[in-house]
Symmetry: D2
Subunit: 335 residues, 4 copies
């Protein structure tokens, strides 16, 4: 924390700020500048709340300096985290595609799509059994029956399963059935759920919140890791923006920024960013070119009958074409 004083701050005001720093148990170091004095807070074990200083007489600004995250930080752990699943590694230098429908609707639907995405090269099957929906009157998912179908898909195809847990009840059930537990954008700051997820011992795919900063997103991962689970996969899915040409604004600068700040893997969901089928391919290409560690893609063989998100689901043939297209983008050497 650096506390910046007014040009005309009196010695008494500067002294009062220093005294407050000491009262909080830290050390205060005044830095006399050309025009004004600033006071650095030293020996603080973690971030200090700027709010404590911001309306003291003579203070014009309090600037946080410390990074609030620890376990997720590349400063703490320099090497990239690689998450090991049966027959699959997720992390830098690997590349994984997770594909499937938005929602599991029936065994036939799930198996049909699973066979297609597996044949095209996906290693993980995605599909929701519990669906967070903006309206209480929209389709809410098959629940336990959906999880049973997902287990069947794994048995029959060998694909690993990623599916969303919406709350603590579903988390318990999902943890028993899934290989990777997904936490959705709307739950990114559901701190109780983050903690519980961190106690499952399972890999967690953590979607970025609708309008979360990189710091908030990493702090959400910190919640999971602070419960002892180091296997977090970050998933960029776009943030809300003005404009109606796409549903969300895919923020690909998070890929290199996460690399710099953290050791965790980062995958991208172009389907939710796009919101419409014709934008999925260009955004998926862009994400791969920007260096992500994997993609989450919605695929449906009958999207016009899908119970949710049909308009952004690729047809299986489109998914196959996309996979071939992407192969050309990853010559192997560039990450």
């Amino acid at each position: 924390m650096l506390i910046v004083m007014d040009k005309d701050a009196t010695p008494a005001q500067i002294e009062a700020v220093a005294a407050k720093v000491v009262a909080l148990g830290f050390e205060a170091q005044p830095i006399p500048g050309g025009e004004r004095v600033a006071i650095a807070i030293l020996r603080n074990p973690g971030p200090v709340d700027p709010a404590v200083f911001v309306d003291m007489a003579g203070v014009i600004q309090a600037i946080p300096v410390s990074r609030p995250y620890k376990l997720v930080s590349r400063e703490i752990k320099r090497e990239d985290t690689i998450i090991k699943l049966p027959g699959l590694e997720v992390g830098r230098g690997r590349f994984v595609v997770m594909a499937g429908p938005c929602a599991v609707e029936s065994e036939t639907q799930a198996l049909t799509i699973a066979e297609r995405v597996k044949a095209a090269g996906a290693k993980v099957f995605r599909g929701g059994a519990y669906k967070p929906r903006t309206s209480p009157y929209s389709y809410q998912g098959l629940g336990k029956k959906g999880l049973a179908i997902l287990r069947k898909v794994r048995e029959e195809t060998g694909l690993l399963i990623v599916t969303e847990a919406m709350d603590q009840d579903s988390l318990k059930l999902v943890a028993e059935s899934a290989d990777i537990i997904q936490l959705g954008a709307r739950n990114m700051q559901n701190f109780s759920l983050l903690r519980c997820a961190g106690r499952t011992g399972k890999p967690i795919l953590l979607k970025r919140g609708m309008y979360a900063t990189l710091e908030e997103w990493l702090m959400a991962a910190e919640y999971i890791m602070s419960e002892g689970d180091p296997q977090v996969i970050l998933c960029e899915r776009g943030v809300r923006a003005i404009g109606e040409h796409a549903r969300n604004l895919l923020d690909l600068a998070t890929i290199p920024a996460v690399r710099r700040e953290s050791h965790l893997p980062i995958v991208v969901d172009p389907s939710h960013a796009a919101g419409r089928r014709d934008l999925v391919q260009p955004l998926a290409r862009a994400a791969v070119a920007a260096g992500c560690d994997g993609l989450l893609i919605e695929v449906h063989h009958e999207p016009e009958k899908a119970l949710s998100d049909g308009a952004q689901s690729l047809y299986p043939e489109q998914f196959e074409a996309l996979m071939q297209d992407l192969a050309g983008l990853r010559p192997g050497g560039w990450y």
Copy 2:
């Protein structure tokens, strides 16, 4: 839903769209315009997903027309909802101030502040026993012990209690202790929690999400009401914005907009919007002048020692001055 066709859409393309509408069980009415044709969807019982149409050949746009909310809507219930609590009514034409510390820290702290805010005219005591914090290392609240202190405050002062539930476990406990259950901004789309809250039968104070549209906020209230609880109080607390002069951007246009769209009461939390003490008074004044049904204000007798949000808490004397100031703003006739 109105589906707008390309200027050069062929009769076959227009026919295909109409056929799809019929296949979904609705009625299609083509509207030939000067330049292009649009197709209205009729007889749909609820909103239709635009996504189904948006990439059909010849379609350039699909525009939702229906409002997705029902129970919260003023179209369904014309008269304002008035929520009845012991000795207090919340709703239009009434005006209530809820005040207290961000977090309950001790019995002495809570009682000290409660006496002061009661004397100044507050009718409800606010104070968190469960605190959602961005960092897992920040103060998380006293939990059950905090709830016991809140019950003590009610006993001793007669103030009603509003406090936050963070998850289903704390909701159960909060419902037993509080008069009004608060759901926080980060949980506005925690749909499981909304449903559970709707089953408590208690009044629910629902904060607007960090970057929620009015429609999403009303849909969150719809979740609560769809479980049978009609007692929802909306709470505007600002949305995230660029710029650092305040923590959040207080959106006072929601007050008249909520009045127009819904029958539910709306209160305002200027403390969280401000993020710093010196902005609370002007924003509180503005909210009252704009016609809100109440305020939520953070007050602390020793904010510099507060375990959270100290910098935005008013001193009791400031709160007293604010209450007197506000009295001058509500001559009584203007809502």
Copy 3:
């Protein structure tokens, strides 16, 4: 500027940063913290570009400390600026209402409205002769003829005139006719126009840009003042936001924030923030309650025939009612 080093930064990396600071002509003061070293830049006459340091080895962040503005800053000039016009002062403790149509459409229209707003208490007549419009096919204003009508309004009613200049050509003409020159939101960073405006010697009403930070807005005022014109009136008119319940999101926290950072007066335009007539009154009330120095209100006697912005224009009777209502909000003692 404070440069924050990585926890594992080497002495050589720290030395390199310090050397770069010195090479730029400043002084470097290392501040050893508990976990990491930070380096303060001293003796810099103005802001330093963080970008110079941000990708040096071992640097994790470069934090600006200096305020970039000078002439607009309350640190430079402690007392509030009061702008003196014939028969009118604009600034703190005064309160001025500027009202009139969005665009000047005819002499009859302008005079009719001017008489009404004058009778209701407005001191300045607003009306555009040059209209910046999103579409080249929308009504663009009467130009010189409009300015002649505005001069006539002043002659006949004694009201002062505020009207917008869109570019250097219109600025010259507007400067000859208007008492206050308005610069619009879309031109807030038209730096050439700002400079020219600063050379007219006229009071300038500077609207906040569509999505400008407080700092950028004050820097735009700095451009005007740096040309020798101290008479700048800031005008808050809302920033762009998601959500469709209002056209823009009126940011009333700028009122106390501008007071803190600057000595310049600040007025509010609730009409453009609202975008629809029924929101103007609550937002105008809120702005006054928050302590602004004046209002800009659109009024039209036949808004349904207005050539622009009719839907947000008040009827003269509504404006009269608003003026009476506002009188009750300003008991006189609160700013």
Copy 4:
């Protein structure tokens, strides 16, 4: 325009709306739905202002249907626009790199960089002679002397020149010296400048505004085209967003969206989106993979001495590496 009526709208209210539509010179077609009536406006030659209807009794919403743009629209011109310059075509299926320093600082600087970017494959040299800067105290460019240097660069290297015009004075001079005239983000809605640019007969590179919607951006291009200049190149450079991991949020979904809505070429400026050197390469890769028609890249041989934007400028060796890297991304067949 579709006007949606309240469920309880009376026949008289519906009639009044229809009458208003007719009074405006259009045709009104009521569409009776299951729950409510909507009224379509037909035979309107262009967009109708929703504001006219929005506060009529019984109206709950007015939804624009028409596209406001004409000349830029793919509905008007189906084939892609290809802009022909000496020895270079810009448009779909072609790919052009424009590179150079943010600002022209000296002949030596410009020629040194020009030789390097030419050798690496750039076809156009970029460099500002007139610099719009947030602060009046920042470096503002060499002006006419800078233009002379740019002409020298063209002579010596054969590279074409793109450089920014800030206002009508500089536009005139820039038009005489440059092959492509750049209009900056802050001037995207400087409508006078857009019109003047459209009269130069030169190709115009139009940057997207700081927070402009796709529609506003296309309308700005419409201003240029409406003056008779069909040679507009759109340039995506990111929009403002919360979060500090990058300067702006690069919105690559505009690439396919512009393709759908317009026939104009679209290039991407990853340097301004990034704001820091280490993000430029991943964002440039992403833009190419998403299908843009070209890139604008900042390159400086001594970025640490650059007078502006040094931190986002690539070293020439980095630019060379990037160009080779990009070659691998464009196998030729994918747009």
